[in-house]
């Protein structure tokens, strides 16, 4: 089809949306009827219309995180009909369009759920645990101004491509939401892979993996059970190979390094 235009009539939908006043309050589903939704609008634009409707009825709109609406900022944190980011493969919620749904459909909308992602309000959750993991080792320690010429570091195209595959992670946390153990190993594995595949990441390779895993455990994320729900939910198609690489790196570092707290606390 070639188009991108309003279909006439549109979709009539029943939405069950998770409402929760704040972190401490108890949450519940509320049910809303929506009429005449264009199949060409995005899922978030459908929620915009719901919010306009609620506002006009004097009811408080649904809070949800969103920003770029082009699938790259990683703000989206919705579970749609039981699936993180909804039914489409490699698609963040903001890129999901209503043509994927049919007239008369019932849709459940919930926030990402994990112990390490407390709910802030309605569909908004707190994913700052990811920042704390990165702060422990998800970087290369280079100060501004000191580096050598960029082309002095030769990197085989294959290695650069593989590193880029891992670096494409948008930090949305769908991997955690989809995992029965609420593990963050795809997220952590992606960063470990990105940096350990490149020559720049070598000097800190061991201390990085030990420190990041230590923080990951501290935040209350679970362990990988090889179910691969994370890969299936990932909007960027990050492969579970990265979890294998994380395990390999962690094992190698554990066998050769000092305790993580000592090694990472370092200088």
């Amino acid at each position: 089809m070639s188009g991108g235009h309003d279909n006439h009539g549109g979709l009539n939908l029943t939405l069950h949306v998770w409402r929760q006043k704040n972190c401490e309050a108890e949450g519940h589903f509320e049910t809303y009827a929506l009429h005449g939704i264009s199949e060409h609008c995005s899922f978030l634009e459908m929620l915009d219309q719901l919010n306009e409707q609620l506002l006009s009825e004097g009811r408080e709109p649904v809070a949800f995180d969103h920003d770029c609406r082009e699938g790259i900022c990683g703000s989206c944190s919705l579970v749609i009909n039981g699936q993180a980011h909804g039914p489409d493969r490699e698609t963040a919620t903001c890129q999901l369009h209503m043509r994927r749904f049919h007239d008369g459909q019932t849709i459940y909308v919930e926030p990402f759920r994990a112990q390490a992602f407390p709910i802030v309000r309605d569909l908004v959750c707190d994913r700052s645990a990811f920042d704390r993991i990165i702060a422990r080792g998800g970087f290369v320690s280079v100060n501004t101004g000191s580096p050598q010429d960029a082309n002095a570091i030769l990197i085989p195209k294959e290695a650069a491509d593989l590193a880029m595959d891992a670096a494409a992670c948008i930090g949305c946390g769908a991997c955690v939401a989809a995992c029965p153990n609420a593990a963050a190993m795809l997220f952590v594995g992606a960063k470990i892979s990105h940096l350990s595949l490149l020559p720049q990441g070598q000097p800190e390779r061991r201390r990085r993996v030990l420190a990041m895993v230590e923080q990951m455990d501290k935040e209350g994320f679970g362990n990988c059970g090889n179910i691969y729900e994370c890969e299936a939910a990932c909007p960027k198609g990050i492969s579970v190979e990265n979890i294998a690489r994380l395990n390999k790196e962690y094992l190698g570092a554990s066998l050769t390094a000092r305790p993580a707290s000592e090694a990472a606390g370092g200088f």
């Binding site: 070639s2 991108g4 006043k21 290369v140 280079v142 195209k157 650069a160 930090g171 990105h194």
Partner: protein
């Protein structure tokens, strides 16, 4: 409404040979002794490329840094959405590039409305940016031999653009974010997410802090510092529909403006030529398709008005590859302002495509035939996928439909060569300032400027503020903080109490339409004058008929939006006044009254070779501003009519 005055703004640009100015200036700047650096506290607002790179670099130097971030995490800043690449004068491809050529291209591309000294510095530090990012592990594209790959980009005839697939902004931002998070881990940077700056606090005329709202609890907070850096991005969302993210707003710089910072060239807006066209009234934002696509895609429309055949039914000799026809030497790679205006012209002539007729084709048929689909997929795979998601069309088979959309604002707070605004101690970085792109920004130069400001300029220039001024100790107990907090609380309370009928988004959409129609791709006196009246009327309505539910003491997205829309409405008034006052065409500012016989922008250098810096003077039904002019002198690049033919 406006009182023309002409005090000369001091840009503090160094003198002497252009290529030595930046090193001379750095030598002449006062230094802060390493032991003293830890006594100074820097507040950085915004965590995109400019803010995150500045925070990391300043922390490395030993300053105490506090960072306010509007998102739940700094990694979501809108720099992340930049797709195509970052320019640097490395000349790795041996195709004749140099610092001088990048400087020249940028001054010319900006249609001679940028400061030469700033642009030269930008070109100089561009090479260090690439070195820095590679050292951080940014996975730029490589050739098989392991060297960095480059590509060409709109507005340039050399290949100087470095890229990481179609996600260059993401990778550069993550590099800066990770560097900043390293210092968060080391305790040198204090990161405060979900904070929105709502006012600037001045003590004795110097910027000494901000008032911010914690967005999840609604708590209004005070932050004191010895310097304030605004790296809060551009204001393209004044048009409601733009390629900017939904959080992108003008409030931080607008509040600083109303506290006395001059606003430079507010009407200079970049309309990006390759975006996915508007499809319906529910549309909440527009999506950019990287202009790197113009390297391989050919832009065309049917030769005949009203030709509604599907593109594969239109034979070659009935297609008009109009950019290649009009601009044989640059072809599809003409600068953004020109590509946008020509697309609008085709649509206005009735030769646009798609159901609305407000689109042109970007066709990859020939590139796929030449290089094969796998090579094209390697270059643009994620963009093609994104396009298909949104439109349900497969660009490997059907030409993309594209149309211009608001993308970037060259205007912003006026800053001197040190990136300092007219308020001492208030520095403005990245898209939030007005400085380096003149009236039109070249592709792949926004990332370059954000990182140049953050990694390389501010770490040197901020020292002049600390070493050159006596800064007394100031805490948040100072009466200026109490007064600013009262203003903020008053504004929030007012927004919550209007109890009208219309949502903030509803006002915002209306404002956007007025701006797009009258202060968008083409502007004329009649349209601008009518827009001014409409905007003032809209502002009055807003304060009478806005509806915000809930309270200020909780996560309240409607309240947040309302505050931003209130500031956008005021900014829109200034943009229109600026556009009306500049009766020449230059770059992205196209005044229909001022064009060449071929329909190109016609500058009036005798009257308008200056930066228009506006000083807020009064509120009221019609707001008032005083105009200051910073004359632009061109010593190195000869002023000519831009030609890309």
């Amino acid at each position: 409404m406006t009182t023309p005055t002409t005090p000369i703004l001091d840009s503090k640009c160094p003198s002497g040979p252009m290529s030595e100015r930046w090193s001379k200036h750095r030598f002449e700047l006062k230094l802060v002794n390493p032991a003293n650096k830890r006594k100074f506290h820097v507040l950085v607002v915004g965590t995109g490329l400019a803010g995150a790179s500045a925070a990391a670099s300043l922390a490395e130097l030993g300053y105490r840094v506090t960072v306010l971030c509007i998102h739940d995490t700094p990694r979501r800043a809108h720099s992340i959405a930049a797709q195509g690449g970052i320019n640097a004068a490395k000349n790795y491809p041996n195709d004749g590039d140099s610092v001088r050529r990048l400087f020249y291209d940028t001054v010319k591309g900006g249609d001679y409305r940028a400061r030469e000294s700033n642009v030269h510095r930008l070109a100089e530090v561009s090479t260090s940016i690439i070195d820095q990012c590679v050292a951080q592990g940014v996975p730029f594209a490589r050739e098989y031999g392991g060297l960095l790959d480059n590509r060409s980009f709109g507005g340039a005839q050399v290949s100087r653009t470095f890229y990481a697939r179609g996600q260059t902004g993401q990778q550069l931002l993550l590099g800066a974010y990770q560097s900043m998070m390293r210092h968060v881990g080391l305790g040198k940077v204090t990161l405060l997410p979900r904070r929105e700056m709502l006012d600037l606090v001045l003590v004795d005329g110097i910027a000494r802090g901000v008032i911010a709202r914690e967005l999840t609890t609604g708590a209004v907070e005070r932050y004191a510092a010895d310097a304030v850096l605004l790296a809060t991005g551009g204001y393209g969302n004044v048009f409601f529909l733009s390629t900017n993210a939904k959080f992108s707003n003008t409030t931080a710089i607008w509040r600083a403006h109303k506290r006395g910072a001059l606003f430079g060239n507010p009407c200079f807006t970049q309309i990006h030529p390759t975006c996915i066209p508007v499809s319906g009234s529910y549309q909440s934002k527009l999506t950019l398709m990287s202009e790197s696509l113009r390297n391989d895609g050919r832009v065309w429309v049917p030769k005949h008005k009203g030709d509604r055949r599907s593109p594969d039914q239109i034979p070659e000799d009935e297609r008009d590859y109009y950019l290649e026809r009009i601009y044989p030497s640059f072809g599809n790679l003409v600068p953004r302002d020109i590509a946008s205006r020509r697309a609008k012209e085709m649509a206005d002539l009735g030769r646009g495509v798609g159901e609305s007729g407000m689109a042109v084709y970007l066709d990859f048929r020939d590139a796929i035939a030449r290089d094969g689909a796998p090579r094209i997929r390697e270059r643009y795979g994620n963009l093609f996928q994104m396009y298909e998601r949104i439109t349900a069309d497969d660009p490997y088979k059907v030409p993309m439909r594209i149309y211009p959309a608001v993308h970037y604002t060259m205007g912003g707070l006026w800053v001197d060569y040190n990136l300092e605004s007219t308020i001492p101690g208030l520095f403005v970085l990245g898209e939030a300032n007005f400085s380096d792109h003149g009236a039109n920004r070249l592709g792949a130069s926004a990332l370059m400027q954000g990182l140049a400001d953050g990694y390389f300029v501010i770490p040197s220039t901020i020292g002049a503020h600390f070493a050159g001024r006596k800064l007394g100790a100031v805490t948040t107990d100072h009466p200026s903080f109490a007064a600013a907090e009262r203003d903020v609380q008053g504004r929030l309370g007012k927004l919550l109490s209007i109890d009208g009928r219309r949502s903030a988004d509803d006002f915002h959409r209306e404002l956007g339409l007025v701006m797009w129609n009258h202060c968008g791709m083409a502007r004329n006196e009649k349209g601008l004058k009518s827009a001014l009246g409409t905007i003032r009327g809209l502002r009055a309505q807003f304060w009478e008929n806005l509806r915000v539910l809930g309270t200020g003491e909780e996560l309240n997205r409607e309240l947040e939006k309302a505050g931003r829309v209130a500031d956008f409405i005021e900014l829109a008034e200034l943009m229109v006044i600026d556009a009306e006052h500049r009766r020449e065409s230059c770059g992205g500012h196209f005044r229909e009254e001022s064009q060449t016989p071929e329909g190109e922008a016609l500058r009036d250098d005798a009257s308008y070779a200056y930066v228009a810096a506006w000083q807020h003077a009064s509120d009221g039904p019609a707001m008032g501003w005083n105009l200051h002019r910073e004359p632009l002198t061109f010593e190195e690049v000869k002023l000519t009519q831009r030609s890309y033919k």
